[in-house]
Subunit: 337 residues, 2 copies
């Protein structure tokens, strides 16, 4: 049976998998922000007891995987496969976190869209009958990202007003073929959208057209109106990107009454000096595995469209004068099947 | 219906997808090697008409995608999704190649196992009913890899005897829900295996234990003997890694009579000075999309176990004294369903 219409981007899950467990861990700054109550673990100095920022990032992933498995009541050996990736070159945070875990791994690279991409594939495999439990995991760390993508922390470089702050955090989700929900009901796979933005310090503007493209496709494919969702939330477009996507929809005559952005929610605009807000794979991962899924379980929302957004450039492509390809994967999560 | 047994690593495809089209492109050195006849396009100077090695790598991917689609007789708009990734930081070869292609993209990072990982997921989605056509693509380029992972080409650094040569090449495969084969019948997802090898110039030794682990799991899960396969072929363990895995199986009392390695096959040992042979995502991709699939179509082999192997370290993890996590994804390809 085909569960995707020809020419459409949306996969409809015939037997929506259940989110059986979810966990997160964050750094000090995130733990001082408005979502502090939704985090399972807040580290006091962002090292997570390790001797390098990269190892700290792996340590975060190990912690959230163990915690998500625990909440799902499953052993690692029960997980049919995990989808994981991160922002570090060659995704070492994920690979080193999964060393010795005895779980088949499909490595991903989707930049800040990784959590949505991972949940999408983990859900599709379960719905396809390929197992009983799957998982998705990702992370980012402000310090490892700054030194890899930008300038050494020690140089104290001033940030531009359009810049976003790479979140220190990791999130993991365990999906089950059967369970009490929330459920993953639809997946809209994103295409690359590149409108020519070349400023790597303005990723919100680079990613907003991709988010617009995927959300528009999702609404058309499912024949749903934005009001179907209690919340349409993008990964981390930040303050500027969120304005851009709202503006795009307004031009189509479409209102997004319940729209939010993980990057906007994660930090306090007035006191935390993150300019346009949060970014990084960990940003949408910790907002989803905390604020959003906790909120769904508490009855705050019934239907959420979680739209992970990624900017797929590298320092090398920026140096070579290339524009920034954006991508957005959307996952529809509902308390009812 | 569950098509994967609890605790096993192997997914059995109930309706094996058909390989509808496959194409490759390689550089000058690969085009002078023993598999020259199996390549669709050989570039004269490895630039593929571009101004940087990274752009050349993207150009290769664009070329092989167009060619694979053409051979499959499908337009890009018919492809439900593509799985792609490469070795460059943030996988820019793939992201830039897929800009403007209008195909939903799931980005992967699996190092040199990427082609096997991509085919695995592309096949699983089709078998799960999530579309009619999917694709997998990857690439590597000697010059972009050397400057990212090792030393600038201009310095002419001497290579160690255990080193492998990153292949310049790209491969793409288009899978169809229905067709005349060859068919993808089983997928064995790999776990990370790390036996403590720390020498980044000896990746064959780092990856061989992962290949052993996955092939062993595949044979156990499917209850097949190695002799079921006309060919069991690893991605790119190279000369040394191929000896190690053969040795591992010998210690178990298991003979691998039909074992080969893509990295060993790609270059001429005597005349091409690649030390332990080929490596890079492109290595197994071009051997599969040329020599192997052409051979299956010509009746040379009926059953192949294609085992992509990846070394998941980065220059940073090496500098931090970490050992190298290896992974291997195996895909069973047969001329009969």
């Amino acid at each position: 049976m085909l569960t995707k219409k020809r020419g459409k981007q949306t996969f409809t899950l015939a037997n929506p998998p259940s989110i059986a467990g979810h966990a997160n861990a964050v750094g000090k700054k995130e733990g001082e922000g408005p979502l502090a109550d939704s985090f399972d673990y807040i580290d006091g100095d962002d090292t997570f007891g390790e001797s390098s920022w990269e190892k700290a990032e792996s340590a975060m992933q190990k912690r959230v995987l163990a915690s998500a498995l625990d909440k799902a009541g499953q052993a690692a050996s029960k997980i049919d496969c995990i989808f994981a990736g991160d922002l570090l070159n060659q995704c070492i945070a994920s690979s080193y976190a999964l060393r010795g875990q005895n779980i088949p791994l499909f490595g991903l690279y989707g930049a800040c869209s990784t959590m949505a991409e991972g949940i999408a594939l983990a859900a599709l495999l379960l719905d396809g009958g390929f197992g009983e439990f799957t998982a998705a995991m990702t992370s980012s760390h402000f310090c490892s990202a700054e030194r890899q993508y930008r300038t050494p922390l020690e140089s104290g470089t001033q940030r531009t007003p359009t810049a976003q702050w790479t979140a220190t955090g990791a999130g993991a989700v365990v999906l089950a073929r059967e369970g009490e929900g929330p459920y993953v009901t639809h997946v809209t796979a994103g295409k690359i959208v590149d409108k020519g933005i070349k400023d790597a310090a303005n990723m919100g503007a680079a990613m907003a057209p991709a988010a617009y493209d995927t959300i528009k496709a999702h609404l058309e494919d499912t024949n749903r109106k934005p009001s179907f969702y209690d919340l349409i939330i993008t990964g981390d477009l930040g303050v500027l990107g969120a304005e851009i996507i709202t503006d795009f929809f307004h031009k189509d005559g479409v209102q997004l009454p319940n729209y939010e952005d993980c990057g906007v929610l994660l930090y306090d605009k007035e006191t935390q000096d993150t300019h346009c807000g949060g970014s990084g794979c960990g940003c949408s991962a910790v907002v989803l595995t905390g604020y959003l899924l906790n909120g769904m379980r508490a009855g705050k929302w019934k239907n959420i469209l979680f739209c992970g957004t990624g900017a797929l450039m590298s320092p090398v492509s920026t140096q070579q004068g290339e524009s920034i390809p954006g991508i957005c994967h959307a996952v529809s999560i509902s308390t009812l099947k």
